[in-house]
């Protein structure tokens, strides 16, 4: 394989990049600038409807030659973000500046030409290779599309690439069926390399593979990065892989980036409450270490109807509470949260004519009666007097199907800036790490202290 690396053009550009990287000239060598990027999916059907806000205003930079990790639970919008970066989804708003030029503005032939520079490796190697074509045809297709040199040179290049990704030249005339998952992923990687892109989005490239071959593919990706000076956006939900391969990490939740910073720093000393929760889910290799376990309650909200303030506010374990409730029992606090989610859900749901009739008849099977809900939530709880009063008021309004007022009362009593205003990005370390949380503001206690206090005692 070593003789491959003597190929001239990539090697040269490679050197340049390595130098740039070595000098750590942070501000200078930005390759991709993403500014306030939004990707919404139109609500299905003819009548529009509320769009799904898969990516809802993210901004970050990717530096030349680095690997930026993008982590988050499934459905947080990380894959959509990756696909938008390579223009497989069209952005609803914002900019993606590649070396200063906005990729979201391109269309037609210009876009086709631009695509050479930004490629994507897909998650599932079973689905990303066309089974009816030989490996050679698959890897060669990008060259055919861009009418690269002569057909003979194309075939030569494909063979070299197969070699580069650790397959054999003879595999040219095999079909994808004849390969294992890891090998298929190598084929997919070879295909992304054909056009010599500078930037590659890796969309969970190893999560569909056997654990035994994951490491091999990861190593291959690292080797290729060194050899060709590639810039990666590495999307993953496996945090240990991210910690291993990425220079910087962005943590995503519900279409927003919650925290972004150098990998090691972020893993050892997370700033954002969401990062805390995410990291606390990783099993600690050393069992003697006493570790806080933060359990997240509920599921992420529907991205069609994200919360008004901080996207994480519905589940955040460090959410800012009004002073008088600061020491409310955690369990009760969670129940109140759940109540709020139920009410939000009820407020959105349209009542059909049948529902209204059932209501008039005193049947309300869709959500359960108000009494049932409150029983379920607070039946087994020690509810302090002041909270009780608020809950009674809320229940009254819900019975009158006036969820809006009920929610308002709930917010008056238990709400805070977390639910009313989206936070800003605060720089939380010398390395320029950013975190999206009100608690970094002067007036509030920092997230880690609050989490310690609220969750250590349990």
């Amino acid at each position: 394989m070593s003789q491959e690396s003597t190929r001239s053009e990539p090697a040269v550009s490679n050197d340049v990049d390595v130098d740039a990287n070595a000098t750590k000239d942070e501000d200078e060598d930005v390759m991709v600038q993403v500014r306030d990027l939004r990707t919404y999916y139109e609500g299905g059907g003819l009548f529009g409807g509320t769009p799904v806000k898969a990516v809802d205003g993210v901004s970050f930079d990717i530096k030349r030659g680095e690997t930026l990790g993008l982590v988050g639970e499934s459905g947080c919008g990380k894959t959509t973000l990756g696909r938008t970066l390579v223009q497989l989804e069209s952005a609803t708003g914002g900019e993606i500046l590649f070396d200063g030029a906005d990729a979201t503005e391109l269309s037609g032939a210009e876009l086709e030409e631009w695509r050479r520079n930004a490629q994507i490796v897909f998650q599932d190697p079973d689905s990303s290779l066309n089974d009816r074509m030989t490996v050679g045809e698959i890897v060669r297709e990008p060259l055919d599309v861009h009418d690269w040199k002569t057909p003979r040179e194309r075939r030569q290049r494909v063979r070299e690439l197969l070699d580069t990704v650790g397959l054999q030249r003879e595999h040219y005339y095999r079909y994808p069926h004849q390969f294992s998952g890891g090998q298929r992923q190598r084929i997919g990687i070879a295909r992304t390399l054909t056009l010599e892109p500078e930037f590659i989005v890796l969309d969970e490239p190893v999560s569909a593979l056997d654990v035994s071959v994951q490491a091999e593919v990861i190593n291959l990706l690292e080797d290729l990065q060194d050899e060709f000076g590639l810039t990666y956006l590495f999307i993953a939900h496996d945090l240990s892989v991210v910690r291993h391969i990425c220079d910087r990490v962005a943590v995503m939740y519900l279409g927003h980036i919650m925290e972004l910073g150098p990998t090691e720093e972020l893993f050892t000393d997370p700033a954002n409450p969401y990062t805390h929760s995410l990291l606390s889910a990783i099993p600690e290799p050393d069992p003697t270490v006493e570790k806080e376990r933060i359990t997240l309650h509920g599921t992420p909200p529907n991205p069609r109807h994200p919360p008004d303030g901080c996207p994480f506010s519905t589940r955040c374990p460090a959410r800012i509470r009004p002073d008088q409730y600061e020491h409310l029992d955690n369990e009760l606090w969670t129940r109140i949260n759940t109540l709020r989610e139920v009410l939000r859900e009820r407020e959105r749901a349209d009542r059909t004519v049948t529902d209204r009739i059932r209501e008039m008849l005193g049947k309300d099977p869709r959500f359960g009666t108000v009494g049932e809900i409150f029983d379920e939530l607070f039946g087994d709880q020690q509810v302090p007097e002041d909270v009780e009063t608020v809950l009674d008021q809320v229940a009254d309004h819900v019975r009158k199907n006036d969820e809006a007022t009920a929610l308002e009362i709930l917010f008056e009593a238990f709400g805070s800036v977390c639910e009313s205003e989206p936070p800003a990005y605060y720089t939380v370390s010398d390395s320029g790490r950013q975190s999206f949380c009100h608690r970094h503001d002067e007036g509030y206690r920092a997230p880690d202290r609050v989490l310690d206090e609220r969750h250590r005692q349990q």
Binding site: Q3, E112, R115, I120, F122, V145, H146, Q156, Y175
Partner: protein
């Protein structure tokens, strides 16, 4: 690794054949021998194709002149000329796009180094080809080159015509079966003095042997290619073919369909008498027979009157001679015409209408399925609405209505092939929604595959993506449903003709034979309706069986639940 480099260096198919020419040459020799045996028929075929191509081209080329005329009539001569030029340009551009798509795989713009940036390159490319075509067209119209080309075509045609007169091995002249019995019981005019029955049987045997040899030789060619020239050791298609080879129900279908197609293609030599003489213009063709010691001459028409099968005493049944010593393997029909000839030519009509209708339907359905699955959205919605409206109409009634309408109006289309083309068009127009629906699921599924996204990510064009990455996955399903549909169209045409619409006499059609033979089913002339009825059932079953076989071959998963699938298919068919 550098050592193994050359070994796996790529070669084109031609180079691979040059490296090892023996198997390929042997096979090509076989093809030549087979062609030489039927050289007359091949030449006739080429002439016919050439003529229709010329006819079509002439039609297209007259468009600008026609438009010029109509525009000049209303807006004056100047406008007419402009319209003429514009139309000619439009035609040239269309031709250029087709030529580029079919014959020019490389980018001329890049080869000529006149790159003008990505946006204009495509246009430039088309413009270049248009210009070349335009110059070519001008040369032909305005210079002696035109007459030279004309002369060349004439020469080739004449050559082909000369070849055409060479007797093919399967021709009725090589093995004649029409003759008369002399007083001493021998036969005059037949092949080697055999009885007409045996001479006819021999000719049938020769035709089918010839066709089977072709089939075997083509298979052999595939095997030679696979063994000596194909670079992949294994392809997914190999598995499908192996599965089909062990699928007996599918093989049965294949055999039936093969017999049917050969019958349609070689209808002329397979019939005991020619259709021209016996069906179309019986009063213009004479033949001789021996009657009471003297040789008599009679027209087919006059003789047919005496050989009608109408039950009772007047009947010419299966495998029998009529009183004029004509051999009728399937008897005669109620008009005294030869049933076998009628059925063989009827097979041709069914095949032409069936294939044309199904081909059109499958083409429309595939194109729509690909586009709706790729683009979704509004296009999908419109197609759903249109196809639902077409499906919601009672199909057979619509077909009936349209065919009656066109025929009563004496529309020119209804005249082609005695309404056959019209029927094919009507069936295609009403049938595509069904096929589209059938492949909509699979095409939506394949459009969701990541390799389609991958193709988009490196800039593949939508058309190429649909062709390379989506259509192969639909083609299998399409083949299955098309073979089922083909059976349906054959039944439909037969049913229409049975009702007295559809294909008009004298063009033979199976359904009409069933209709006309109906009154005699309970008499001695039962064969008139029964035989074509059996044939329709057999052929349609054959197409269904073949479709089942192909489905199981391309979709191995269906094999596991074969029992259920088979039961469902029979249930649905019944």
């Amino acid at each position: 690794m550098s050592d193994s480099y050359d070994e796996f260096d790529d070669t084109t198919l031609r180079e691979r054949i040059e490296a090892n020419p023996r198997p390929a040459l042997l096979w090509a020799l076989g093809v030549l021998v087979l062609l030489a045996l039927e050289i007359g028929r091949v030449a006739a075929g080429i002439i016919r194709v050439g003529e229709s191509a010329r006819f079509a081209l002439g039609g297209i080329m007259s468009i600008p002149a026609t438009i010029e005329e109509s525009v000049a009539g209303t807006l004056g001569a100047g406008a007419g000329t402009i319209a003429f030029l514009l139309m000619a340009l439009v035609l040239l551009v269309i031709a250029a796009i087709v030529v580029k798509w079919l014959f020019v795989p490389v980018s001329l713009v890049k080869r000529l180094d006149i790159d003008r940036g990505v946006g204009t390159n495509d246009v430039l490319e088309r413009a270049l080809i248009t210009a070349v075509l335009g110059v070519f067209a001008l040369l032909i119209v305005a210079t002696p080159l035109g007459s030279a080309v004309e002369a060349l075509i004439d020469g080739v045609t004449r050559g082909l015509e000369a070849v055409n007169s060479i007797q093919p091995i399967t021709s009725r002249e090589t093995i004649p079966n029409e003759g008369y019995r002399t007083g001493d019981g021998g036969w005059e005019g037949t092949f080697l003095g055999l009885s007409p029955a045996w001479a006819w049987a021999l000719r049938v045997a020769v035709v089918y042997t010839y066709a089977i040899v072709w089939l075997v030789w083509l298979w052999k060619g595939y095997e030679i290619f696979r063994e000596h020239y194909r670079e992949a050791d294994w392809t997914p298609r190999d598995d499908s073919i192996n599965r089909l080879r062990n699928h007996y129900w599918g093989l049965f279908g294949f055999v039936v369909v093969f017999l049917f197609i050969v019958m349609a293609l070689w209808a002329q030599p397979l019939s005991p008498v020619t259709a021209e003489a016996n069906l179309y213009s019986p009063y213009e063709h004479e033949f001789q027979y021996y009657d009471d010691g003297s040789l008599e001459t009679i027209t087919h028409g006059t003789a047919n009157v005496q050989t009608r099968s109408q039950g009772g005493d007047s009947n010419v049944g299966l495998m029998s001679y009529d009183q004029y010593d004509r051999f009728a393997p399937f008897g005669t029909n109620q008009d005294g015409k030869d049933m076998f000839t009628f059925l063989a030519y009827g097979a041709r009509v069914s095949l032409v209408v069936g294939v044309l209708a199904t081909g059109l339907m499958a083409g429309i359905a595939t194109a729509l399925a690909l586009m709706t699955a790729y683009y979704k959205g509004l296009l999908d919605l419109v197609t759903v609405v249109v196809s639902d409206s077409v499906i919601s109409m009672p199909r057979f009634l619509i077909v009936l209505l349209l065919s009656v309408l066109f025929m009563q109006a004496n529309h020119p289309i209804a005249a082609i092939y005695d309404g056959g083309i019209l029927l094919a068009l009507i069936f295609a127009g009403t049938g595509w929604p069904g096929l589209w629906r059938a492949v909509r699921g699979p095409s939506l599924q394949v459009a969701e595959q990541e390799w389609v996204d991958a193709a988009r990510s490196y800039g593949q064009t939508p058309a190429a993506t649909m062709r390379k990455h989506m259509s192969p996955y639909i083609a299998g399903y399409m083949l299955v449903y098309a073979s089922l549909t083909l059976g349906g169209v054959i039944i439909g045409v037969a049913a229409l003709s049975f009702l007295g619409f559809g294909i008009n006499p004298p063009t033979p059609e199976w359904g009409r034979a069933v209709d006309e033979g109906r009154p005699y089913v309970s008499t001695a002339s039962w064969h008139i309706a029964t035989l074509p009825g059996i044939l329709v059932v057999l052929v349609v079953t054959g197409f269904n069986a073949l479709g089942d076989g192909i489905r199981d071959a391309i979709d191995p998963e269906s094999e596991t639940s074969e029992g259920d699938a088979g039961a469902a298919a029979t249930g649905g068919g019944g």
